[in-house]
């Protein structure tokens, strides 16, 4: 699936550093060009389910997504990985739908479908020829209301998820890098745990957990249905109301009490060994949450640090000093306070300590001196570019609308953020750098190759 810039970190963790680098460099100009505003309508059904509709008649297709406001941060201790495991269970059939047929029913009419889980949300989506809009809504409502929960299917699917963990995290070089980072960076907040979870916790999950999770989080008031594409507004409104309106209202509110990460009072450092060919260095800082006023200058800071060959970190570490094979980074700004981090893979013959020093020097420089006006303009132009090219497909548009509605609880930010970014100043960037890029807030990780005889 395609990812917005703020999701790059998730992408790095999903497919390894090298693949993350490709995503960054392939990411597809002047801020003077104001992209068109997204047009949409939104309403809430009696059972609490939110619907967002946005028409686009350029191609006869329609995209339907269902966001459940639950992710790996909502997992209870000892059940890491469960939100994602449950996402898989949503393909195990419901009252009117046979197990494992959701995907093939959609494919059988020429559609595509899938799902994904992040720290903050679980998203089910399908894009299909426009005339099959009723089918997509019917399928999603059926599994929201009447999921089949079968022990044998659960046990089998758990094996599939364990294979997914082996494939994405355990087997490829650097696959566990962000997992190691987050484990050292957080003490309390559940962001400490990777979305994929641990093998032991996956093994410990039970069918009772499945029932409980479904009844707690997969309820209409925790769901947002977004429909973007070629449809008639009145008809889509009626169809959404018809199929989702009959899903019963939840009996209890969705729990939202999560432990907060305490402020960190000293730098945290770790040196670990892994069987990877070249050393990896990570320098990370605890930062604020998505939607906080500081988040916008932090995104600009991330562009100045990481985006493009002319950005500070790649130019200094990769091009000028040839310390690193790759040096990437991201402001991973999410619903709760998260990390702003830079990762470098050390060139053979270079010292990890030199890479660490060079990276920290760039963060300190940003706090000590204002960035250049030309750098700020460049970052804003890049931001405008991302904004424009990440709103090309119906799926892209749905992602922005749903993200604004679910994570910001304010759908107007899907467009309103453009103007906030345009107004960020060099003083704003320096202020947030001083606030967050401090030694106490810092986490430094060295991952060194494990010697031979492994």
């Amino acid at each position: 699936m395609r990812l917005t810039p703020r999701r790059l970190a998730a992408r790095v963790s999903a497919c390894g550093v090298i693949c993350g680098l490709a995503a960054l460099t392939l990411a597809p100009t002047e801020a003077a060009v104001r992209p068109p505003k997204l047009q949409y309508e939104t309403f809430v059904l009696d059972n609490g389910l939110r619907v967002i509709l946005s028409e686009d008649h350029s191609t006869p297709i329609v995209h339907v997504s269902v966001w459940y406001h639950v992710g790996s941060k909502n997992e209870r201790p000892g059940r890491t990985g469960f939100a994602h495991l449950f996402e898989h269970m949503m393909f195990k059939g419901s009252h009117n739908v046979e197990p494992e047929t959701h995907t093939s029913i959609i494919a059988g009419v020429g559609g595509r479908s899938n799902a994904y889980t992040t720290e903050d949300e679980t998203v089910f989506w399908q894009t299909l020829p426009a005339q099959y809009l009723p089918l997509a809504l019917w399928l999603e409502a059926d599994r929201m209301a009447t999921l089949r929960i079968d022990e044998a299917a659960f046990v089998r699917e758990r094996e599939v998820v364990k294979e997914e963990r082996r494939l994405r995290v355990e087997n490829p070089p650097y696959g566990r890098l962000t997992e190691i980072l987050y484990d050292h960076a957080f003490t309390t907040h559940p962001y400490r745990h990777p979305t994929i979870g641990s093998m032991a916790d996956l093994e410990a999950a039970s069918i009772a957990d499945v029932r409980d999770f479904y009844e707690t989080f997969y309820v209409p008031e925790n769901a947002t249905v977004t429909i973007v594409g070629d449809f008639d507004l009145e008809q889509a409104r009626a169809l959404a109301t018809r199929y989702f309106g009959r899903v019963p209202k939840a009996e209890r509110p969705v729990p939202r009490d999560l432990p907060e990460e305490p402020a960190h009072e000293a730098e945290r450092r770790a040196v670990v060994e892994e069987p990877w060919p070249l050393p990896a260095i990570v320098v990370a800082y605890h930062v604020t949450y998505d939607g906080h006023p500081d988040a916008y200058p932090l995104h600009i800071a991330a562009k100045i640090m990481f985006d493009g060959d002319s950005a500070r970190i790649p130019r200094e570490l990769v091009y000028e000093r040839r310390l690193a094979l790759t040096a990437v980074g991201s402001g991973n700004i999410t619903e709760h306070p998260n990390l702003f981090y830079s990762i470098a893979i050390v060139q053979p013959g270079q010292r990890p300590e030199a890479v660490e020093r060079a990276m920290i020097a760039e963060f300190e420089k940003m706090a000590a001196e204002p960035v250049l006006e030309s750098e700020l303009e460049r970052a804003k132009n890049q931001f405008a570019r991302d904004y424009i090219i990440s709103r090309e497909s119906n799926q892209d548009k749905a992602l922005h609308l749903a993200h604004a509605a679910v994570i910001h609880n304010d759908i107007t930010t899907a467009d309103g953020e453009f103007d906030i970014f345009t107004n960020v100043s060099t003083a704003d960037v320096q202020r947030v750098a001083r606030t967050y890029f401090t030694p106490e807030n810092r986490v430094v990780l060295h991952v060194l190759p494990r010697g031979p005889g492994r």
């Binding site: 100009t29 059988g108 046990v155 758990r158 599939v160 364990k162 294979e163 494939l167 087997n171 002319s310």
Partner: protein, 488 residues
Amino acid sequence: MSTRGVAAVLVALLLAPAAGAQAPAPWPSEPPPAPLPARQVNFPPYELRTLANGMRVVSVAHHEQPAVTLRLLVGAGAAEDPAGKTGVADLVAQLLDQGTTSRSASEIADLIDTIGGALGTGSGTDLTSVFAVVMKDSFDVGMDLVSDVVRHPAFSPEEIERQREQAASQLQVNYEDPGYVASVLFDRLVYGVHPYGRARTLQTLGRITRDDLRAFHARHFAPNNVILAIVGDIAAEEAFAAAERVFGSWPRGDVAAWEEEAPPAATRRLVVVDKPDAVQTEIRVGQIAIPRRHDEFLAFDLAVKILGGEGANRLHRVLRSERGLTYGAEADTRALKYAGDFVAQTNTRTETTVETLRLTLQEFGRIQQQPVFRGELGDAKAYLAGSFPLTIETPNDIATTVINAVHYDLPIDEIGTYRERVGAIMPADIQRVARRFIHPERLSIVLVGNASAFTADLREAGFTDFDVIPIAQLDLSSATLRGGVGTP
């Protein structure tokens, strides 16, 4: 109302939840809803012109977002690498934006980043690509820059060494990645010494000189070997005028393609690469098949999709849905310009390696020996034909479809008849192409994983003839696939 009826009502009232809440209506049992009236699907307008110097230019005007994408393909890639110097095409691609005769690497990076654009270069088996995105008001800057990097790369010695160092480190990482190793070794087994099977190594990379790069560029980079797509918020006439302005003076070249040589016939070979710390085994199974431009391509592609593609996918059902052996299993045709192959790929925990391999091979046999079910074919066809509007959603999707047709020398009007051609394929066609192109007894098989944990199972399952190569000794440029220790 009868007494019995009254009692029933009373019981219902007693059992109803308190506080006047209404019991929810039972969930209806019903078939899926009927579709709405189908809408007309037309391939969106585009225009294809050839400049006087032979360069082909595609314009797809699309005005929703104020951006323009430039996609340029040169019809030469790794297959044109000189013998023993695999990696030339890739290094040429990496160096295109690292300095031209009038701009340094840093100046190029500053320029593209300052206008909020993006510029990328890359190479494939038989093409080299340049990709740029610019905002509408930087269109001319973008065209100038793309033309400059394609026509006038400097190949400065300093930048060559920088990129060579990057490529070498990247190789070192890749050769520890089981998925990467499985895929390049598979190519090597299927194509042998055919240009499509050559792999980059530290040795071949080390032999490349600046003259090799310049020679490759001089030989293949000419307008009559280039396709450019200009896509987005720009009118066709403006797009063609800009192409003429920056590429019109580029003289036509003599770009004879390499002498086509036939890839080797399929032969059974099983190679195990031993990576003792692997927790999963990467599996590749497949063989040589047909190039993209082939009368049977569409039917064959559909047969492979039934085996392991979207819309049907027997491998996914057997390995994942029914047994939980893997996260993913798929089969793909990889049909290139001069040859093609097909490959099934999956991965499974070490203990289930042989079971997964056995089941995969069983599906190869089944698709070749038994007719496909009509319903299964219907699903695969419905997916291919029905998903056509999904493949033309964005202007870049449209451009890619047109560029591909041009690159593979396909009749351009085939784009418009795609759904009809898919619709005409029958079960007998699938069986004919499966019998003709799939040979289960002559498959190339690669397993990359913790060999000592499954080689006994392999023998027990009847696989007696296989090589086991420690990953540190794998050498794809050697006939025995083995080199000295630590030589990727």
